[in-house]
Structure formats: C-alpha cells, structure tokens
C-alpha cells in the first residue's frame, strides 16, 4: 500500500497561475480519478508530483518525495505522454533503457509488452505507432518496475473501446490489491465506471475531493421525483423545509435537498397519495459540469458558434 500526499502544490508561468496551493491525498485500495476542465492544471500537477516541473509544495509517497525513492520506477509507475519514445529505437529497447536505470531484468520488457498486447511489435520501431499503441507502450513503461503506485495522465486517450475496457479492468484489479492508482481523464463516463475517489480541480485550485458517490449526490441535479394525483399538500409541506421544489409537466414535483425517504415520510404525514417516488441521480458528467462551472480555461459557446478564450495559453 502507499499513500500519496500532495501539499501546497503551486506553479506559475509568468503571470499565469497554473496550480494554486493544491493539496489532496490519494489512498490505496481504490482508483482515484483526477478531473478538471481543459487547462485546469492536471498535467502540470502530475509533473509537479514527480518533480519534473519546478514549483512550490511537496508530494510524498508513503512519506518520501519521488526523488528520494530508491529505484523510483519500482515503486511508482508514471505515464505522462503517449508518445515519449525515440522513433527508431524498438519498443523492446525503449523499455530496456528504462529497465537498465532501475536494475530491472531485461526479460521484464517482454513481459510487460505482452501484458499490454504489444508483443508482436516488440522489435518494431515505434515511429509508425498509433496514439493507442503509444499509450500501451507508455503503460508498459509504467508497469516495468512492478510498482505499487500508478500515476497516469489521460491513459485512455487514443485507446479503442476494447483497450479502454482493458484499462478499466486492469486498474480496478490493480487497485484492489491495495495498490494506489491516480489517473486523470476527461472521459467522464469512463471515470464513472472506474473511479472510487475523485480529486476535482478548476483553474489550478481544488474544487472537491472524496468519494464519487458523495460528489454525484451533492450535485443539484440529483433530485427526488414525485408523482401523484394531488401533490399540493406535499408541495406546501416541502416549502416549509429546507428543500428546493420545482414543478415538472404533468404534475410531477422535483425535490432537491431531501432524500427519497424524507420525501416519502413527509407525504405519509400529510396523507398524500403517491403514484411514484424515485431518486434521479445526477451523472458524473452533470456533477462535474456543475462543480467546475465558471472555472474552465476555455469556454465553448455553442449558441454563438464561437470559442471564447480566457486567460493565456501555455
């Protein structure tokens, strides 16, 4: 097991603040998703965690900074760029160079290539690799040292559906062995299936961190939907408690701020007949968009048909 603790991470590019006093914790035993809009500082944060970018704050892996780890690749596997390899060095040799630095047996290169499904191109030059194949090679490099912790930046980019399914299953199995997984992705549907915990940032600042269920249920689009022939008494009761009520077509009420049980009990107390009572849970996407509203670096206005950019690009 390993716990990642990020404390006060910060990074500026000139006058632009990319990461601002960001602190969070990643525990073993589950997949922690790292979410944020484009340009919110996810990749910069990951580079700061690994000491690849110079900034402020510290990140420790079971109390030790990355640079202090003995043979770090054997403890923390990282995937940062999909195509970080020399185009004419074979896939096998790419891994063997990294293995040499970490005193990893040369045979391990073939093992991880087979694991990620690249054994047939092990002796091929990767210059013609697709983005997905590049990601698989990057995953192979991350797994080379058989680490207990994985830090992956957008690992699903370029993968086909089968590849994404493989990645999801692997990461869940890996985390289930009390290992630690910290993975960024903009594929929210995928993250909803994969992640147990979330760290959500916007404009380099922490928006929230915690269980996926808590994040989703806290979203305003999570609501209790009530149907019945005469809901006026219930509406009156709901207006007196701390709930937000809206009327949907066909006399249906939508209640935000109370649980399904609380609404049911209230209806019982007021002797209101119900024909339907259900909880409509927000999707991770809805919860994410609500949580990060206003913190996007790049706004898309489909009505205007134009892209409005805020801040400066890096």
């Amino acid at each position: 097991m390993a716990t990642i603790e990020a404390r006060g991470l910060g990074k500026r590019y000139g006058s632009t603040v990319a990461v601002d006093d960001l602190s969070f914790e990643v525990r073993s035993g589950g997949v922690t998703g790292f979410l944020g809009p484009n340009g919110s500082g996810k990749s910069t944060t990951i580079r700061l965690m690994l000491g690849l970018d110079n900034g402020t704050g510290t990140t420790t892996f079971d109390g030790q900074r990355y640079g202090e780890l003995d043979h770090p690749m054997r403890q923390v596997g990282a995937l940062l760029d999909a195509k970080a390899f020399h185009p004419t060095r074979t896939a096998r040799n790419h891994l063997r160079v990294l293995a040499a630095a970490s005193k990893i047996n040369k045979r391990r290169a073939d093992e991880v290539l087979e694991f990620v499904g690249l054994e047939s191109v092990a002796s091929k030059k990767p210059k013609n690799f697709s983005l997905g194949m590049g990601q698989r090679l990057g995953m192979a490099a991350a797994l080379l040292g058989d680490p207990h912790t994985l830090i992956l930046d957008e690992p699903a980019n370029g993968l086909d559906p089968a590849g994404i399914q493989w990645l999801r299953s692997f990461l869940k199995d890996f985390a289930a062995k009390d290992h630690t997984v910290f993975v960024s992705s903009h594929l929210l549907a995928e993250m909803a299936l994969m992640a147990d915990q979330l760290v959500v940032i916007g404009r380099g600042r922490l928006i929230t961190s915690g269980q996926v269920e808590d994040f989703v249920s806290a979203a305003s689009s999570t609501a209790v939907v009530v149907r019945g022939p005469d809901l006026a008494p219930l509406r009156e009761a709901l207006d007196r408690v701390d709930a937000t009520v809206s009327e949907l077509p066909e006399g249906v009420l939508q209640v935000v701020g109370l649980t399904q049980e609380e609404v049911g009990d209230l209806a019982f107390e007021r002797n209101v007949h119900l024909h339907g009572l259900m909880t409509r849970t927000a999707s991770l996407e809805e919860a994410f968009l609500e949580a990060t509203a206003g913190s996007e670096e790049f706004h898309l206005d489909y009505r205007a048909g134009a892209t409005e950019t805020e801040g400066s690009t890096r």
Binding site: L52, N54, G67, K83, A84, T88, V97, A100
Partner: protein, 265 residues
C-alpha cells in the same frame, strides 16, 4: 549515479545513429589514411604526413569530420530527450538531475574518446598495410604524430561535450546542430578574418587565437604557417589551444547544468 550511467550507456547503445556515425567516422579515417599514404612518397610519409593521417585530415581540414560527428553524438545525448519527450521518462527513472547530466557527460566524452582511439588505430593500420609504406620500420615519433593523435582523441571528446552543451542550452535538436556547424565553420571564420584583416582592429587581433574551436584545432597543428612563408598569424601552442577549448567546453557545460537543474523537464 550508477543508475544514471546504466541508463546512459543503454540509451547510447540502443540508438542507431551511434553506430552509423561510428561507421562514417571509420570510413573517413581509413579513407584519409589511404589518401595520405598514397600521396606520400613511397617510403617516407614524413612526420607531418603521419600526424595528418592519424588525425583524419588533422589541420588540413577546416574542421576534421570525425570530431563533428562526435559533436552530433553529443547533441543527440540531450537533444533527442527533448525532441522526443523522453526526458520525462528519463527523469522518472533517474530523478537526480545532476547525476543524469553527469552520466551523459561521462558517457558521451568516454564514447567519443574511445572512437577517437579506434580511428587513430584504424588510420595506423591502413598505413601499415598500404603498399609501399614502411611506417612500422620508421615508428611513430611523439612530436608531431603522437602528440597530434592524442590531441585528436581529446578534440573528439571536447567536440562531443560541446554538442551536448549546445543541446542543453537550446533544448532544441535542430538549433543545436546548426550552432555546432555554424559557429566553427562560419562565425569563427568571419571573426578570424575581421580581427586579422581589418586594420582598425589591429590592437585586438590577438583575440582571434582564443576563438574556441580554432584554439582546439591547434591541438592538431604540425607546423607554423609563418615558417613556410604563409601568413604569420598569432596562434596558440597545441597545449594552450586545447586548454582554451576545454575551458570553453566547461563554461558551456556549467551553464547547461544550471539550466538542467532549474528548468522544467
């Protein structure tokens, strides 16, 4: 440090360009050795001819090709890392930046020097087997042939390190290659001419002998052009020239080290 050395040796060994640059250097060294042996009188190359043959053209080339190719090996040592984004996996494997850079310096310089030794040996073998030559009987005198051969090996290592430093300073492979070719072949030539042929600059014409690549080339010198009736330029002695070029290399590497430590990967 050993992790960094293992990484760098594996990186150099698994790069195709390492081997084709070695191959080209061998062909050049053997070819120039054969040309000098053919051009020399039947049994007497002359001491200077021997020195020129052992240094792949030595001072008769504006820049001998093998040191330029060694410079490219140096450029690739850091330039490839930035061009292909492998600097991040490299620093993930070896997070101690100073150790990684030092390993690159040690391995690059050692490789270039070893190639230099091999090229000298190949040139000598060509002379040994060339019909009509009698190098074995005449031996290899220290001055100038032995001295120039040693200077050639040192020049190989220094060029490789300058290439590495240019890549570290620019973090851009094409820019580093351009610097490696343009500074010695164009910039220094222009500065040398301006300093020596513009009368108004007579007072500072002595600066021209400290142009770093030209100073390094002095390690391959076999004669003073002035003694043969040529222009009487103020040139450094071989050892002084080598020290000037080495000093230039150390300064570039020091700046590279500071940038490598401070900049984002």
């Amino acid at each position: 440090m050993t992790a960094a050395l293992r990484y760098e040796v594996a990186r150099l060994r698994t790069l195709r360009s390492t081997w084709w640059l070695l191959g080209v250097s061998l062909v050049v060294a053997a070819g120039i050795g054969a040309i000098v042996a053919w051009a020399g009188t039947a049994n007497d190359l002359g001491d200077n001819g021997l020195a020129i043959a052992l240094s792949a053209g030595g001072e008769f080339s504006p820049v001998p090709l093998p040191p330029v190719l060694a410079g490219l090996v140096g450029v690739f040592a850091l330039g490839h890392e930035y061009r292909y984004g492998t600097i991040r996996p490299a620093l993930s494997a070896v997070p101690q930046r100073s150790a990684l850079l030092l390993a690159k310096v040690v391995v690059t310089a050692t490789w270039a020097a070893l190639v230099g030794v091999v090229l000298v040996a190949v040139s000598y073998l060509v002379l040994l087997v060339f019909p009509g030559q009698d190098v074995a009987a005449n031996g290899v005198p220290w001055d100038p042939a032995g001295r120039v051969a040693l200077g050639f090996v040192v020049l190989m290592a220094l060029w490789a390190l300058v290439g590495l430093a240019f890549a570290g300073l620019t973090r851009n492979l094409p820019a580093a290659v351009v610097l490696l070719l343009v500074i010695p072949l164009v910039v220094e030539g222009i500065l040398f001419a301006v300093l020596n042929f513009v009368p108004a600059l007579d007072g500072i014409s002595w600066w021209s002998k400290y142009l770093p690549f030209s100073a390094g080339q002095a390690m391959l010198a076999t004669f003073d052009p002035g003694e043969l009736g040529g222009p009487d330029f103020d040139l450094l002695a071989p050892l002084e020239g080598g020290l000037v070029f080495a000093g230039f290399t150390v300064i570039l590497l020091a700046i590279t080290w500071v940038l490598f430590e401070r900049k984002d990967a």
